[in-house]
C-alpha cells in the first residue's frame, strides 16, 4: 500500500500545525464559532449530540496494522474505548474534546493518517472497492488511480469552497462493491485498445434527491485524467446552485442542465484546462502503482479447505470470498453481531483485527462501505485459525450480505442532524431474524437504515431501505423496497405510510414471508420484488 515520502509527510505535518493554530485561535476567542465551523469541518470535526465527533480518513478504505493499532490507541486514550466504521470507509470517534483534537491529529500523522477533508464542502475521501488488489474479477487495482486523486484533491485551492460536499469513487471491476454510481463522480477503470483509462459517471448521490449518475465520458486516458476531473469540478464550482443547500449537489446541476449540456460544458473547459500542463506524468502513476504491487503470494499455498467444523463452514460460505490467487481467500469480518451496533468496534477488537491483518494478510486491512472490515489476502490454510481468533473476540458473525448485515447511520443516538434513532431499529431487526438458518434461507438481502433524509445509511440503495422521520416529536419509519448500490444500481420505492419501531419489524417480516412464498429459482428478495412489483408486497404489509 501507499507510503508517504518527504512531501506527503511535510504536507500532513503542516496541516496538523495549521489546525492546532486554528483551534488555539478558537479557544482564545480570536475567531467565532461561525468562522471556526468551516475550518473544523474541513478537518472532520463536528459538534454532535454529546461531544465533538472526529472523522478520520481511511483513503480508499485501505490501512495497515500500524494504522489500525493507532486507531485503537486513540479510542483508548482520547475517546471511550471504541470507534465507529462508516459508510464512507472512514472511522469516527464520538467523544472527542476540541482541546485534544490537535494532539490526536499529530498522533495520526505518525502513521501517515489524517482527517483532511473528511467533511466540508470540498472533495472528500476517495472511496473504492474493498476487494481491490484481491478480487478475482478486477481489471486492475483501482487504488493507484484513487491515490492520484487523493493527492490532486488535497487542499485543492480552487475546490475547497464548492457549493456542497463532493464524493468520488474509483472501481475497476464489473461487480460494483462500492456503490460507484451513487457518488458525485463515479469512476470505473476500463480498457480500450490495450490502454487503461477512466469511464466517468457524474451526478449520482443519495440524500434528499437520490440520483444515479449518468455516463459523461466513456474513456479518459491517464494522460488527461486529472485535467478532465479538474474540468468536471470547475463547471460544478462555477454553475452549481448556491441559493439552496438542498439543491447544491452536482446531481441537481446535471439534472437541471441535462447530461449532454453538462458534458459539452466540461469538454469546453477541458480544452482550456488541458493546455495548462497540470496532468502528472506516467512516471508518477508508476511510482504510486509500485506501492500497490501484489504481495509475495505463496505459489504453493494449498487450495483445499477442511470444512468439518459446521460453524466454520457456515462462516466460510458467508464471509469468505474468492481471491485471484489459488490458495488464498478474502475474509470479511462482520461488525454486525446480532443485537450489536453496526460498524462499532472496541479498541481491543481493532487491535485484534490489526494483529490478524499483520500475521495473516500481508499487513493489510480494508474498511467497507457496508461498515465491515476485510482481510484481503488470507491463505486458505490459515482461515480456520483466523476464524477461531475472531470468534473469541465476538467478530465471527457469519452474516455477510444477509438481512442482519445492516448498514445503519449513527442516528439520533449520536447525530445532531438525525430525526430518529437508527441503531435500536437495526438491533431489533437483527434480533428478530437472528436464526442463521433463517437468514441464509432468505439469502442476500441488503437492509439499510438512515435516521434522516441525508441518507448516510444509504437507505435508497437498500433492497430494503428504512428512513427515520420525526412525526410530531415521535420517531416514525418509512419503508422502501427495490434499491441497489451494486452494478444493478436502482433506487428504492416507498411502500406507503410509515411505521412505529415495532411495526416496521413486523412489516419486514411480512415482506420476507411473501418473498419466500413467491420466489422462483435463484431469485434474491430484490429479484422477486422487481419481478412482482410493489402491489403484492403492499398488500402483504398493509392489507
Amino acid at each position: 500500500m501507499y507510503k508517504y515520502d518527504e512531501y506527503d509527510h511535510s504536507i500532513v505535518a503542516a496541516r496538523v500545525e495549521e489546525f492546532r493554530d486554528q483551534v488555539n485561535r478558537r479557544l482564545a476567542g480570536q475567531i467565532t464559532e461561525d468562522q471556526f465551523k468551516p475550518l473544523r469541518l474541513m478537518n472532520g470535526l463536528y459538534l454532535q449530540l454529546h461531544a465533538y465527533m472526529l472523522r478520520v480518513a481511511v483513503p480508499y478504505g485501505t490501512l495497515d496494522s500500524r494504522q489500525m493499532h493507532m486507531l485503537a490507541h486513540i479510542a483508548r486514550k482520547y475517546d471511550r474505548g471504541y470507534g465507529h466504521f462508516t459508510t464512507r470507509q472512514n472511522l469516527q470517534y464520538n467523544w472527542i474534546k476540541l482541546e485534544d483534537a490537535p494532539d490526536i491529529l499529530a498522533e495520526l500523522a505518525t502513521v501517515e493518517m489524517h482527517a483532511i477533508q473528511t467533511s466540508g464542502n470540498c472533495i472528500r475521501n476517495i472511496s473504492s472497492d474493498q476487494f481491490a488488489g484481491a478480487a478475482a474479477d478486477e481489471l486492475t487495482d483501482p487504488r493507484p488511480w484513487a491515490e492520484l486523486l487523493r493527492q490532486w484533491s488535497t487542499f485543492h485551492p480552487e475546490f475547497s469552497y464548492l457549493p456542497r460536499k463532493f464524493k468520488i469513487c474509483v472501481i475497476a471491476a464489473e461487480e460494483d462493491r462500492a456503490a460507484m454510481r451513487l457518488h458525485d463522480i463515479g469512476i470505473q477503470i476500463v480498457e480500450k485498445d490495450g490502454q487503461l483509462g477512466a469511464a466517468i459517471y457524474v451526478g449520482g448521490g443519495m440524500g434528499r434527491t437520490p440520483m444515479i449518475a449518468p455516463l459523461i465520458k466513456d474513456f479518459v486516458p491517464f494522460d488527461d485524467f486529472v485535467s478532465y476531473l479538474e474540468a468536471c469540478l470547475r463547471v460544478y464550482n462555477r454553475y452549481g446552485r448556491r441559493d439552496n443547500m438542498y439543491k447544491a449537489r452536482i446531481k441537481i446541476l446535471i439534472h437541471e442542465l441535462g447530461a449532454d449540456k453538462y458534458r459539452a460544458e466540461v469538454e469546453e473547459e477541458f480544452a482550456a484546462v488541458k493546455a495548462l500542463g497540470i496532468d502528472p506524468p506516467q512516471a508518477e502513476f508508476d511510482r504510486i502503482a509500485a506501492y500497490f504491487a501484489p504481495p509475495a503470494f505463496d505459489a504453493d499455498a494449498p487450495d483445499t479447505l477442511d470444512r468439518s467444523d459446521p460453524d466454520f463452514a457456515v462462516w466460510l460460505d458467508q464471509n469468505v470470498s474468492a481471491h485471484k490467487k489459488p490458495g488464498y481467500a478474502v475474509v470479511t469480518i462482520s461488525l454486525k453481531p446480532i443485537g450489536g451496533i453496526p460498524g462499532d468496534a472496541t479498541a481491543d477488537q481493532i487491535d485484534l483485527m490489526a494483529d490478524l491483518g499483520k500475521q495473516f494478510s500481508f499487513d493489510e486491512l480494508r474498511v467497507t462501505h457496508a461498515q465491515n472490515i476485510v482481510l484481503p489476502h488470507v491463505r486458505k490454510a490459515d482461515l480456520y485459525t483466523v476464524w477461531q481468533q475472531l470468534r473469541e473476540a465476538g467478530l465471527a458473525e457469519a452474516n455477510l450480505g444477509l438481512i442482519s448485515d445492516i448498514i445503519a447511520c449513527p442516528g439520533l443516538d449520536y447525530c445532531s442532524l438525525a430525526n430518529a434513532r437508527s441503531i435500536p431499529l437495526a438491533q431489533k431487526i437483527a434480533t428478530r431474524f437472528s436464526d442463521i438458518g433463517r437468514q441464509r434461507e432468505l439469502g442476500e438481502l441488503k437492509l439499510k437504515i438512515s435516521g434522516c433524509i441525508n441518507a448516510c445509511g444509504h437507505h435508497h440503495a437498500g433492497h430494503i431501505g428504512i428512513l427515520g422521520v420525526d412525526r410530531k416529536g415521535v420517531e416514525n419509519y418509512q419503508l422502501s423496497f427495490g434499491g441497489s448500490g451494486a452494478e444493478d444500481v436502482s433506487l428504492g420505492t416507498i411502500t406507503g405510510p410509515g411505521f412505529s419501531e415495532d411495526g416496521i419489524v413486523d412489516a419486514i417480516e411480512k415482506a420476507t414471508d411473501l418473498y419466500l412464498a413467491q420466489r422462483e429459482d435463484g431469485e434474491r428478495f430484490l429479484d422477486t420484488y422487481r419481478r412482482l412489483g410493489m402491489a403484492p408486497f403492499k398488500e402483504a404489509i398493509y392489507g
Partner: protein, 98 residues
C-alpha cells in the same frame, strides 16, 4: 418552562444553564423564562458555552424534562450505550428518553 442548553467549548460536553453557571446535569437546569437569548449571548461571548439554544421543557418531580427526544438523548447519553450515559447504574434511565 424554558431551558438553556449548549456544549462546553473545550470539551464539547452537553451543558445546561443552572442560574449561575453551566451544569452537566439537566436536573440542575433552571427556567430561563424570556432571558434565554440574553444569557446565551453573554455566555457565548465569554466562551463559557458553544452553540447555546433555548428549548421547551416540562417541570417534573424528577426535574426538568426536555420536550423533544433529541434533547432528552443529549441530557442522558446514547440510548444504545447505557454504560456511557450519565446514569450508567440506572437500568431504567433509557425509559426517561422515550
Amino acid at each position: 418552562m424554558k431551558l438553556l442548553t449548549g456544549n462546553d467549548l473545550p470539551t464539547g460536553d452537553v451543558t445546561w444553564w443552572s442560574g449561575s453557571g453551566w451544569s452537566r446535569h439537566v436536573e440542575d437546569a433552571v427556567d430561563v423564562g424570556d432571558q434565554g437569548e440574553a444569557i446565551a449571548h453573554a455566555e457565548e461571548g465569554a466562551r463559557r458555552v458553544n452553540g447555546p439554544y433555548v428549548i421547551d421543557a416540562t417541570a417534573t418531580p424528577e426535574g426538568p424534562r426536555p420536550a423533544h427526544i433529541k434533547d432528552r438523548i443529549r441530557a442522558l447519553g446514547p440510548t444504545v450505550r447505557p454504560d456511557l450515559t450519565l446514569k450508567p447504574a440506572d437500568p431504567n434511565a433509557g425509559s426517561w428518553v422515550i
